[in-house]
Point group: C2
Chain length 216, copies 2
């Protein structure tokens, strides 16, 4: 790792911490510099203002997100899909995580006003949709989902629902786990009748069809 | 109407216009006063700062929202439900409407930081959920939806999906109509097999079941 790369990473980590403390709207370059051992001048040397820094920060978050949505190739596709939904909609029990989620919603709300924000946010959307659609297609090929399942439509639906869960959690403090498990139930309800799939990655192999497909 | 009430309404309308122009984050009391024939001092006489004004503004929006979600008691419940979803997720073709929707998302993102915002935002959620659950229950009573349909669960699901649609429209410019019609299809897919329900309020009476329930 170069020193330049280390400095960049330090600034990105400082931005994360500063966002948790101050939120996006009130955040200044000074607040971010205060989270490092560098000066505000050093921050301005690297970034051409708050918008420029945040375009970089979104790209940095996107890198982490890509790792988060990577699949578990050992489990059946539907089990992987459920695990993906659960990872993406992991309830935040840590206060700073919760503050970060709220700040990220502020950033999404700023997307139409700030050059380049939307471009990176679209990458989150596209990557997640592609990953979901790929898993649905794999589930169809494996005979877990019916042949006439529209993988793109399912991916769009799941993506919209995930965004809704994030928004309601931040705006009205709605229960992430309840909303998430409703989505998981929907994904399991789509299984063909005799599919042998567990919703749990660990027990993927042992489960009986009746456990997986729900009571319907 | 009292003069006091007229002034209040004028301030609320001015806030709407100012939000469309400036967004929430950068909005000042001066920006709002500039949209009226009153002074900034007059605005400060009525409201104890921006947060106080916005609590009032959210309550004003909530009043309009209540009218928007009111039902059409002549149509069958599922037709009313579809009409409700279409009204709430009406695509904004006017630029200022679009700017307002984005500003409203900024306000939702501010909810955890500002006293009282969440309380009013929860009322939007509760009212919409109650309206949806009531229509689903009426549809079950009318035999349009199966008896084992969980009206509260459907209402939660629809509500989360609606929030997701709003968020994706603002954050990544996703297609509101495509997302909305996907939800409408889901609501029609839930119909019992021989239900005679149109998705269109105007043609509610004439439609054939095959038109309403989709191709499945």
């Amino acid at each position: 790792m170069s020193q330049e790369h280390d400095t960049q990473t330090a600034f990105m980590e400082a931005t994360y911490r500063a966002l948790c403390t101050h939120g996006y709207a009130d955040l200044t370059m000074q607040d971010i510099a205060d989270e490092t051992d560098k000066s505000k001048a050093a921050l301005h040397y690297h970034f051409d203002g708050k918008d420029d820094l945040f375009r970089e920060f979104l790209a940095y978050l996107h890198e982490g997100f890509t790792e988060k949505i990577a699949d578990h190739p050992d489990a059946p596709p539907v089990t992987q899909l459920v695990a993906l939904v659960r990872r993406v909609l992991d309830p935040v029990d840590d206060e700073s995580d919760q503050q970060f989620n709220t700040a990220f919603m502020e950033i999404k709300a700023q997307a139409p006003y700030r050059d380049g924000y939307r471009t990176v946010l679209r990458r989150f959307d596209t990557d997640l949709r592609t990953e979901i659609a790929d898993l649905v297609r794999a589930a169809i090929e494996d005979g877990q989902y019916p042949e006439d399942t529209d993988s793109e439509e399912v991916a769009e639906h799941v993506l919209t629902y995930i965004h809704g869960t994030w928004t309601r959690a931040a705006a009205v403090g709605a229960d992430v786990v309840a909303m998430r498990e409703h989505l998981v139930d929907d994904l399991l309800d789509m299984l063909v009748e005799d599919a042998n799939v567990s919703a749990d990655v660990e027990t993927a192999v042992e489960s009986a069809p009746s456990d997986a497909a729900g009571s319907e």
